[in-house]
């Protein structure tokens, strides 16, 4: 049916209200505090390690983000683990919360489309994520300058900003996912639980699941080396169904310039390559392109699912 009027009128009002609500909510303060603490833990550990190798490394600043000091994981690993939690905290009651507060029908009786509400909720979450990540990034850079005593190079800044975009895409996938769950389940507690369950599955168990599935789908025949290649390809393929895998691959390619490939490499493909030599930024960016677009595609797909579910819902509260 043809509808008249802009589908997005009112969207920016909703987005900014959502963002303002998040910034003043105790829930958001709590997760951000958690993120900040873990982030600084990661960076602090890295500083201790780096001090030993200072002066030998052209990408000292990036090491700040990727180096881990046992038992503390690196900043990047922490971010991969914590960002979904931030997104879940932002959106798990996005839609069902409006039903719960009984504000849904009042809002939808204003001259806006439902599209505007859903888009506004998503954009509001993204605004919050962008501001928070940018702040975090600046804080970490400042900390690096203070402790290492030298500014990041131009290339390091470019790689860092590109990483920031990857973080946003990754957080966007989880934002879309928890918004979707909040349209599917009428109880905020249920959608929060479902989102947390998925978070655990993808951040902790997915590796094991991919491994087990590979063993079942592509068994290795010791007499045939091709089955081994086949199995490895299955395993990486399955692992990449998880946004967490895509994120950590993107991070390692962007922040470790030595990374030449994100999959299987045969020895003959390495002919002529200088081991350990860094790739230029443009080549690294090319390398993560599929991962990055994979995350954006997942985000759009999940958001579409949320959209379809929401459009069909009856509004009676």
């Amino acid at each position: 049916m043809q509808r008249k009027g802009s589908a997005l009128s009112g969207m920016s009002t909703i987005a900014w209200k959502e963002a303002a609500d998040h910034f003043s909510s105790a829930r958001f303060h709590f997760v951000m505090l958690l993120v900040l603490l873990t982030a600084f833990g990661g960076v602090y550990g890295a500083i201790g390690e780096i001090k030993n190798t200072i002066g030998q490394d052209p990408f000292l600043f990036l090491r700040l983000l990727t180096t881990s000091k046992q038992p503390v994981p690196s900043f990047v690993a922490f971010l991969g683990f914590m960002l979904p939690l931030v997104s879940i905290a932002l959106a798990f009651d996005g839609i069902n919360g409006e039903y719960g507060r009984r504000t849904m029908s009042r809002i939808l009786s204003q001259p806006i489309y439902r599209d505007a509400l859903l888009f506004g909720k998503f954009v509001g979450g993204m605004i919050v994520l962008t501001i928070s990540l940018l702040t975090l990034w600046l804080l970490v850079t400042g900390l690096g300058i203070l402790t290492l005593g030298l500014p990041p190079s131009g290339e390091e800044i470019a790689r860092g900003l590109c990483f920031l975009v990857a973080c946003l895409a990754y957080a966007g996938v989880w934002l879309a996912l928890s918004l979707f769950l909040s349209t599917v389940f009428r109880q905020a507690a249920t959608s929060a639980l479902a989102a947390l369950a998925l978070w655990l599955v993808f951040s902790i168990f997915w590796g094991m699941i991919a491994h087990a599935l590979t063993a079942a789908l592509a068994p290795i025949d010791p007499t045939d080396p091709m089955t081994l290649v086949n199995a490895v390809e299955w395993q990486t393929g399955l692992a990449r169904l998880s946004p967490n895998t895509l994120f950590s691959e993107t991070a390692s390619a962007l922040l470790n310039p030595q990374t030449r490939s994100l999959g299987l490499v045969f020895i003959n493909q390495l002919e002529g390559a200088i081991p350990g030599a860094p790739l230029p930024f443009s080549q690294s960016a090319l390398l993560v392109w599929p991962q990055l677009s994979g995350m954006v595609a997942a985000m759009l797909l999940i958001f579409t699912a949320a959209y379809v579910t929401f459009q069909r819902q009856e509004v009676r509260a």
Partner: protein, 314 residues
């Protein structure tokens, strides 16, 4: 005053096998207060949702101010204010902030916004708590805040779903006065309720709902006339004569029922107090009491649904 602002033709809503609204025809004129009256589950809320375009009808058509709520929802929602039956606000925001948010959504220009919000809050007597969080508001205050939203929006039509449910008698009275004053300024009001007395006091016309059908539509006296046979109820207390047979011959008497304690109750078309008194005195009786009231919608309601149930059972 006879422009039709809301028109429904054969409006039907099915939920799986159950029919929530069944072939409803409705015409609501500009400036009138129209009541949807019916017991729980009779389809009032469903009807309202279809008028607003929040729920898609299974069949039938709706036109609000000449627009189809499904095809041109923004045109309809711009002119229509809706007060849902269990109204909710953002508790952590103040009354003013809540209104500001919906005012922005409804596209009120920034220059006018604050003034209109202030006036609306004044109007519903919430100006003194305008900057308090809605968390601290009582049910009656929330309900009035909901009305303030309609005022600020400048709605031409107000659709109120059970606006007085859960309010004490005094708040109910205040709310009804507000609604009546809106109507006095030319706003068309459609309200649903199962509280009959309140509907009677503000509504120009009512529709009696039952199982998704509007059984009767008309003014309160018209409906009372149809269901009860009479619009006026006269209570008579007399001694020394057979009052019942004395009055039943009078022209305009629709029915006579004996009451507990000896009196009789007469349903009449018009004010027959003089005739009744004369008839009793003429029959040699002594008149001890005579009072008249307009039949209340409660009587209509109870009687209407009882006869319908008997008809169904038969």
């Amino acid at each position: 005053m006879s422009d039709i602002v809301i028109e429904a033709r054969g409006l039907t809503k099915r939920y799986g096998g159950t029919i929530a609204v069944d072939g409803l025809d409705l015409n609501i004129e500009a400036g009138e207060v129209f009541g949807l009256l019916g017991p729980n589950g009779s389809g009032k809320t469903t009807t309202i949702l279809m008028l607003l375009g929040l729920t898609e009808p299974s069949s039938g058509t709706v036109s609000v101010l000449g627009h189809n709520p499904l095809r041109e929802p923004l045109m309809v929602k711009r002119e229509v204010g809706y007060l849902p039956d269990a109204i909710g606000f953002y508790d952590q925001l103040t009354a003013r902030e809540n209104l500001r948010y919906t005012a922005k959504l409804s596209g009120i220009p920034a220059a006018e916004r604050e003034k209109r919000i202030g006036e609306a809050l004044q109007r519903v007597r919430l100006a003194h708590v305008a900057d308090r969080r809605v968390k601290t508001f009582s049910r009656g205050m929330r309900q009035r805040l909901g009305l303030a939203e309609l005022v600020a929006k400048g709605s031409r039509i107000a659709i109120l779903d059970e606006p007085t449910s859960g309010l004490d008698p005094q708040s109910t009275q205040e709310l009804l006065e507000l609604i009546a004053s809106f109507a006095g300024e030319g706003m068309t009001v459609l309200l649903s309720s199962h509280l009959l007395a309140m509907v009677q006091s503000v509504c120009d016309r009512v529709a009696l709902f039952r199982d998704g059908k509007a059984g009767l539509i008309g003014t309160v006296p018209e409906i009372a006339g149809k269901v009860l046979g009479g619009v006026y109820v006269i209570d008579v207390e007399a001694e020394g004569a057979d009052a019942k047979s004395a009055v039943s011959g009078i022209e305009g008497v629709r029915g006579v029922t004996p009451r507990k304690g000896g009196g009789i109750q007469i349903d009449a078309d018009r004010d027959l107090r003089g005739e009744v008194a004369a008839a009793i005195v003429a029959a040699g009786g002594r008149l001890k009491g005579l009072s008249m009231s307009q039949s209340s919608l409660d009587d209509v309601y109870v009687r209407y649904f009882r006869t319908q149930e008997m008809a169904d059972a038969a």
